[in-house]
Symmetry: C2
Subunit: 380 residues, 2 copies
């Protein structure tokens, strides 16, 4: 129950361990086509270019920046946590300039500040922001931000690593241009792949570049020879066959549940977990309207030893929760309720275990009430 990797559904582990076939085998190629269609459902898009990058989410992020940017470009980057900072790193490593719009960590991105930045920087080519900040659990209003980007003639790059499958990611409705995610969060799949989707407008930019994409491995002009439409697949790199079996199964599971039902499930269990923490007297970092249901940042009570609590939870309850990252290190815990792990069983386990561990350390919390509060929430 950390910020991901989340627990993997046993059906997905079973798919993962199936015998490896060739990456150009007709049966595998047919599965790739299904996978693209299933990903379009997850992203709620008709984008033709929708596929998994053969590497973790940070490579998915990099694939968006290296393909869309050329040296000398300007990018407005919103930062309200760790991953906005990583976007800045990516922009600069492309020889482009990052214009930073800073918000408090733990808060959503302020659209007014973004509009000011777009107004004062008419040369900007891209607006980049994180929809679901994995470092804080804050959710930003992607629809408003993408619309602002369009209005000021910018492309949008959106980080949906933690949101995909857990809270609405509506790529076409938002009008987002380049979106990347990860498999190890609300899809409950193994880590190592990064689903991405690009609008037609983004594709045109990629196909009419002046300079070569600086990464051979991530150059979409080449990757598309393998993942693109049409019958013939050209070898680019050897696809991670077994991880793709697993992602296919994860997406079939999402389709079986129905994505709206998955979103609702995340909201329901989040509400119960929150009720339990609040009954205990713990506070959530992010204001209610800006919270991600699947990632709950809880303030560590004064005087409590962060690492000792996490160590006890892991040793005594086999329960992993996440530490704070960057500016939040030592100040918060990050508790995931993602995908398959977003269940009543885990809500009760987490509340019971945190209650017991903090109680045994004489932390200033209300003990013995959290589980009841959560159960009450389920009854409402």
């Amino acid at each position: 129950m950390g910020p991901g990797p989340s627990d993997v559904n046993p059906r997905i582990l079973e798919a993962l361990g199936r015998p490896t076939i060739g990456h150009l085998d007709p049966q595998f190629v047919a599965m790739m086509d299904e996978l693209k269609e299933l990903l379009r459902y997850a992203f709620q898009t008709r984008n033709e270019l929708t596929m998994p990058v053969s590497a973790p989410g940070s490579a998915g992020m990099e694939s968006c920046f290296v393909n869309l940017l050329e040296p000398g470009d300007s990018v407005i980057v919103c930062q309200n946590g760790v991953f906005g900072g990583r976007m800045k790193e990516n922009v600069e490593r492309c020889g482009a300039t990052a214009i930073m719009v800073e918000d408090d960590w733990g808060r959503a991105i302020d659209a007014n500040k973004v509009e000011d930045a777009l107004k004062s920087n008419p040369q900007a080519k891209v607006l980049a922001f994180v929809h679901a900040e994995t470092s804080t659990g804050a959710q930003s209003d992607a629809k408003t931000l993408c619309a602002l980007a369009s209005r000021y003639d910018c492309l949008s790059i959106v980080d949906c690593v933690t949101s995909l499958g857990g809270t609405p990611v509506l790529v076409d409705d938002w009008g987002a241009d380049a979106v990347y995610s990860g498999t190890q969060k609300c899809l409950s799949c193994v880590p190592g792949l990064s689903p991405v989707t690009f609008s037609e407008r983004a594709m045109e930019v990629i196909q009419s570049r002046d300079s070569t994409v600086q990464s051979w491995f991530l150059d979409l002009n080449l990757v598309l020879g393998y993942w693109g439409g049409g019958g013939k697949r050209a070898y680019h790199h050897t696809a991670p066959i077994n991880s793709l079996y697993a992602l296919h199964e994860a997406l079939v599971i999402l389709q079986e549940e129905g994505i709206e039902n998955a979103w609702q499930r995340h909201r329901d269990h989040h509400r119960a977990l929150r009720a339990g923490f609040e009954a205990m007297g713990l506070t959530l970092v992010v204001p209610e309207a800006e919270r991600l249901p699947q990632l709950n940042a809880v303030s560590i009570p004064d005087g409590v030893d962060d690492a000792a609590v996490r160590g006890r939870l892991l040793a005594d309850y086999h329960l992993e929760i996440g530490a704070g990252l960057g500016a939040m290190a030592g100040k918060i815990w990050r508790i995931g309720l993602m995908g398959h792990a977003c269940s009543k069983r885990n809500v009760l386990l987490c509340l019971g275990a945190v209650d017991a561990v903090l109680g045994s350390m004489n932390a200033a919390i209300e003990t013995g009430v959290a589980v009841t509060a959560a159960l009450d929430s389920y009854r409402d």
Copy 2:
């Protein structure tokens, strides 16, 4: 029995499907330490910086180039097949200049030409070459080439994607500076990871760069915070946990067999396969002294329909063999005998199936003798 991914050992598939734990979990971190030590055995090196890149072999290749090169550098690149060409692409995307040394496809690299290039290009920083050309099955003399690089004060980058675990890769004995490989060839593991190892000399170059590494994802200065020595692991990206379980198991299997025994097994089965093909009247493309035992390039007899034969082998025998790549397309088949798939059972299956399919097409081959010739080879 293509050029990889090769058949995965069931023990490795079982390890792959184990429950996913956190990438900062102490048990996982302990496994990472074992993995690095096991990789040092596979690479026959004591290099501290020895680890798997969290992406396929082409990302391993890119990690060597982007970390060692800076804009304006010169690299001597040997090309005797497809992958030397990919090295050139990598060099140029780093803003560096590739000085090409060309050899015939299907032949080893000519050390004399390399020495001439080193002599005439004293500004060269790196010599890059492919030890085991997956596109042709040719093996080059890595020890001689690395020694030449050292003598002319160059770093060496060596592609060992297809050689690792199948034919001697002796990183320390060669004095190689940066070596990358893949998991899906002679380690019989799933595709998606790229083991790499860097000498101390290479590390010094990486740590004293003037410019930032252009890839955030592959920047070893950052990756080492997670994979490096010392107790504390800093989050960089989410490691592909399950694929790393699989690689760990693959390397344990290699250690159990003994790497010298694995090399000998590849030689023995190659000899039997070759005896069968030669009895049939088929010829191997690469001269005997330059052949990789694990990857056999066979000339397609005149008048035989390449795709039809491969299609029949796949449909009727569930046997995949590889097509030619690039300049070799339509001219050769690439038949792998890699790792777990390098077995008497597969040698006999392949010879029997090729005999039957070519015989049924009235190809100009000697039918009914290949399997006997292979069995005779095993008896010698």
